[in-house]
């Protein structure tokens, strides 16, 4: 349970520590603070977008303990002690991740607003299932709305990553 601090107005604040993209951050948050707002406002990780704040659009998708979730649907205190990956942590160095490369090379990005969430959902799928079929790709990104691409080139990009992933690599990564 996170440490509780009561301010002079009697409002309780909670000290949480979250691990984001490999680093620990300790912040004091209110009970109603959303995880997406901690990431964006406190840590300046604005790659995680807000499109609806109702869990409909998927723009704020992050990996929480390696599972894709809408960070607008999670309270910051629920993430205390957990591991988070945001779009800023998908590429480990200046080199892009294969999913990011594929999105760029296959025309899967137009306005780019859904892109971070979409890449996170695609990444989660490919980690779980390196060779999905088209239906599985569509199911995996069904919670991410894109208004520009009709999903055509997004699906193509994800399948391309699968095609180019050789199975030895998958095994050695596991």
């Amino acid at each position: 349970m996170s440490q509780v601090i009561t301010d002079k107005h009697g409002i309780q604040h909670y000290m949480i520590t979250i691990n984001v993209n490999g680093d620990d951050y300790t912040r004091v948050v209110k009970a109603n603070t959303l995880l997406v707002n901690v990431l964006r406002d406190e840590l300046d990780l604005t790659g995680t977008k807000k499109g609806c704040e109702l869990g409909d659009c998927g723009s704020c998708t992050i990996l929480l303990e390696n599972k894709p979730v809408d960070s607008c649907m999670i309270l910051a205190i629920e993430a205390d002690g957990k591991e988070i990956t945001t779009i800023e942590g998908i590429a480990e160095s200046s080199e892009l991740d294969k999913v990011q490369e594929a999105f760029i090379n296959n025309g899967a990005i137009q306005c780019g607003y859904c892109t971070p969430g979409m890449i996170i959902s695609a990444k989660a799928l490919l980690t779980r299932n390196p060779h999905p079929n088209e239906k599985e790709v569509r199911e995996a990104i069904a919670g991410n709305l894109c208004r520009c691409t009709g999903f055509v080139n997004i699906v193509k990009a994800v399948l391309k990553v699968s095609e180019e992933t050789n199975d030895k690599e998958v095994i050695s990564n596991e």
Binding site: K50, G107, Q110, Y113, P116, R147, G150
Partner: protein, 767 residues
């Protein structure tokens, strides 16, 4: 695309792809400034009510509230994107006109305080009867939305071309049909945001805008500022589709809050507020009467429309003219009457959504044409081929058509979809439908009257020649104009795309451009960028000729290599070398370009709307499967064949077709903004307003036909909106083919299909 181009006609990496893929791209809502405040607007809970009093005193006392403003604190000057009808105030003065109308605003230290402060503003209303049904807005005694517009008539159009009475008298067959559209909303995934900074008499606004120019013009006008003292900067924009073309309360209220507090203020809409601000597609009630000869050749058409405009004009005057004006493009006929009334209602204002004015009339006309084809026993493909627009023709309402490969589009769509094998041979429940579309490649005239060029561009080559920066007012909202324009600039310069940089859409640093609307930028901004590139090339070859001791006419530059045309073995030099030499001897190497549209169109009232230097054409065929138990419409496959002239970037081009088609898919089957009997939106969120997901999207085949548009740079014309136009009619025709039922209102929901099938079974309705 041919042959000899080095940079255009190719898929290059999107210039901002990396920033977008890594989350580094900053949109307006991501921007932070020191000491920044947050601003929110208080809106009306009533569709129509008098404001009796506003008490802000409790809100002002709340700790963290830095300013509270109402109509008393802002200019009373009315504004609107259509100069013909300025009818909107920053805050309502005497009454509110829809649920969501702007009443007051606050600036606070954080978002949470904003919501608390808004709740503390006490507004006393006297609720008035509201007009919620467009068809009764003109009734005697109906409530008046604006006193200045009797019977709630916002726009009234009566156009008459040729001799319709004569055409109808001579017609072999006349058919009248009635269709109803629906209200849809653009729903860009990025909500509107703006950061306003008003410092030392200068107003700077970062905004999610499709047109920094129109924002600058209207904001300067509203506050009595010189345009030079208003700077509009477009950060990354997360989609617009027409909804971000006009300044909103966010910019107007945000500016006042910034001035009063002396601090940057970020204002923003949440998803519900976006639906209330709206400016989406009008719901149009459409009566069509068409006379044809024995062969199905169209002799004359009467389009008689009423549209629900909502509480304000927005772009609705233009939308109304477009609704009928564009109907003459795809099929040739010489007699046409167009009557239209756009009425005010106490609902959110409608404006320009992808395909501006055209998609719903097109749905109606394509369904109507199929009815006629069926009555005459003509194949739907055949009736379209017989009437298809041909190149180098002029429409009856004076639009000059240069390139037009509609016939080739129809033939190719038929071939790749297997139309001739499938038509009439599919099992019950499965159907195939066809429709066509067309759209402008940029509006021929700006939104407010002025003599500015449509587009201008500048290129500055870096001192050592290793980079060149394109400065353009063109606005990339996701469609990829930054990438395409850099390709065009590099091609014209004889340079490499990889070395191009771009600074765009900032009214202080980039030259004028009207922005991203009416599918104008590839042709118009592209023309200016091409000219700027050619000016660079001319200068670089001139200096190269002194270095190489060859006449400049003998030199050319391609991908950064300058060579002799007549002596292929002569030593070459690099663009970098020549550019560096140029800077040392002559100073900055700059290129400039400007694009004016030639005078277009006729002289009748409204003749300017829907004029364009060029028009795109397309044919779409779709195959659907209908569940006979539930009425579920499953669109299995769509074939779109486009005549969009020459292609700058094939991947981006097909991406535009996919996106436009996607929007058509949503509007065809699911999307509709719904209201209760008090004028409140029932589905103001992305769960209730059903955007199609990845699972709903059919298999799409996007193909092109060879075409060259003489009015466009390198033969280009539009693609971004045209593919929305045929889709709804195309699906409706496929549903008819599958089940023999005609759905006469949008969206073509499962329920409507189910009911129509039931009525048909019970023999209640004959189509």
């Amino acid at each position: 695309m041919s042959k000899d181009y080095a940079v255009i006609g190719k898929n290059v990496p999107k210039i901002d792809g990396r920033e977008k893929a890594t989350g580094a791209a900053k949109y307006a809502g991501d921007l932070k400034f020191p000491n920044m405040l947050f601003g929110k607007i208080l809106t009306s809970p009533h569709a129509h009510a008098k404001i009796l009093s506003i008490d802000t005193s409790e809100a002002e006392k709340l700790p963290g509230v830095k300013a509270v403003i109402t109509h008393k604190d802002v200019p009373a000057l009315k504004y609107g994107i259509s100069p013909a009808r300025w009818d909107e105030n920053i805050f309502c003065i005497d009454k509110v006109r829809f649920v969501g109308d702007k009443v007051a605003a606050v600036a606070c230290i954080d978002e949470e305080t904003c919501y608390k402060a808004l709740k503390l503003i006490k507004v006393e209303y006297e609720v008035l009867p509201a007009v919620l049904d467009a068809l009764h807005a003109m009734d005697e005694g109906a409530p008046q939305v604006h006193d200045e517009y009797p019977r709630n008539i916002n726009t009234e159009i009566h156009q008459n071309f040729g001799d319709l009475d004569k055409a109808m008298a001579e017609a072999h067959y006349i058919r009248k049909d009635y269709f109803v559209g629906q209200r849809t909303y653009q729903s860009p995934i990025e909500p509107h945001s703006a950061v306003s900074i008003w410092k030392d008499n200068k107003l700077t606004i970062y905004s999610s805008t499709q047109s920094p120019h129109y924002f600058q013009y209207y904001i300067a006008r509203e506050f009595g500022l010189k345009m030079g003292d208003v700077r509009i900067i477009k950060p990354f924009v997360g989609g617009g589709f027409g909804g971000k073309l006009e300044p909103t309360g966010l910019e107007f209220a945000g500016s006042v809050l910034a001035k009063l507090t002396g601090r940057p203020v970020r204002t923003f809409y949440d998803r519900h507020e976006m639906f209330a601000h709206n400016r989406g597609r009008h719901k149009v009630y459409m009566e069509l009467t068409t006379g044809v000869d024995k062969e199905g050749k169209i002799l004359g058409v009467h389009a008689n429309f009423v549209s629900d405009g909502g509480a304000y004009t927005s772009l609705g005057v233009a939308t109304s003219y477009y609704a009928g004006g564009l109907l003459t493009l795809t099929y040739e006929f010489e007699n046409y009457k167009f009557d239209m009334i756009r009425v005010y209602t106490n609902l959110p204002a409608c404006g320009a959504q992808r395909g501006h004015g055209a998609p719903q009339p097109k749905y109606a006309f394509e369904s109507h044409l199929d009815n006629i084809a069926k009555d005459l026993g003509i194949d739907p493909l055949e009736i379209r081929l017989r009437n298809a627009r041909q190149p180098n023709t002029v429409t009856i309402n004076d639009f000059g058509i240069n390139s037009c490969e509609l016939t080739a589009c129809l033939e190719k769509a038929a071939d790749i979809s297997g139309w001739r094998e499938k038509k009439g041979n599919l099992p019950k429940g499965r159907g195939i439908g066809i429709a066509t579309g067309s759209f402008v490649s940029g509006a021929g005239y700006p939104i407010y009257r002025n003599d500015l060029p449509q587009s201008a561009a500048m290129i500055k080559v870096h001192e050592d020649g290793t980079a060149a920066t394109l400065y353009t007012g063109a606005v990339d909202i996701g469609q990829g104009s930054d990438t395409a324009l850099c390709q065009m600039a590099a091609e014209a310069m004889g340079y490499r795309y990889e070395n191009m940089k771009i600074i765009a859409a900032d009214t202080e640093t980039t030259p004028h451009d009207f922005g991203a609307y009416s599918s104008r930028q590839t042709l118009m901004s592209g023309s200016a960028c091409k000219q700027a590139g050619e000016e660079i090339k001319k200068q670089i070859l001139d200096i190269a000729s002194t270095i190489m001791s060859l006449p400049p006419d003998d030199l050319d530059c391609r991908l950064g290599i300058i060579f002799s045309k007549s002596r292929p073995t002569a030593k070459t030099i690099t663009f970098e070398e020549a550019a560096r030499r140029f800077f040392v001897l002559r100073g900055p190497l700059l290129g400039r370009g400007v694009y004016h549209v030639p005078r277009l169109g006729g002289t009748f009232k409204g003749a300017a709307v829907a004029t364009s230097p060029a028009y795109s054409f397309c044919a779409q065929i779709s195959e659907v499967q209908i569940d006979e138990e539930t009425g579920e419409v499953d669109v299995c496959e769509v074939w779109d064949v486009h005549d969009c002239g020459q292609v700058i970037n094939p991947m981006q081009l097909h991406g535009q077709v996919h996106g436009a088609l996607y929007m058509g898919v949503g509007e065809a089957i699911w999307e509709e903004v719904l209201f209760d009997d008090q004028g409140k939106i029932q589905n103001p969120n992305l769960g209730g307003y059903m955007l199609p997901t990845a699972l709903d999207m059919p298999i799409v085949h996007s193909e092109l036909v060879e075409s060259y548009e003489p009015a466009g740079p390198w033969g280009v014309k539009e693609v971004g909106e045209g593919a929305t136009n045929p889709t709804m009619g195309c699906f409706n025709n496929a549903i008819y083919d599958a089940m023999g039922v005609r759905i006469d209102s949008l969206p073509l929901t499962y329920e409507k299909v189910w009911r129509a099938m039931k009525e048909k079974r019970e023999g209640k309705k004959e189509v």
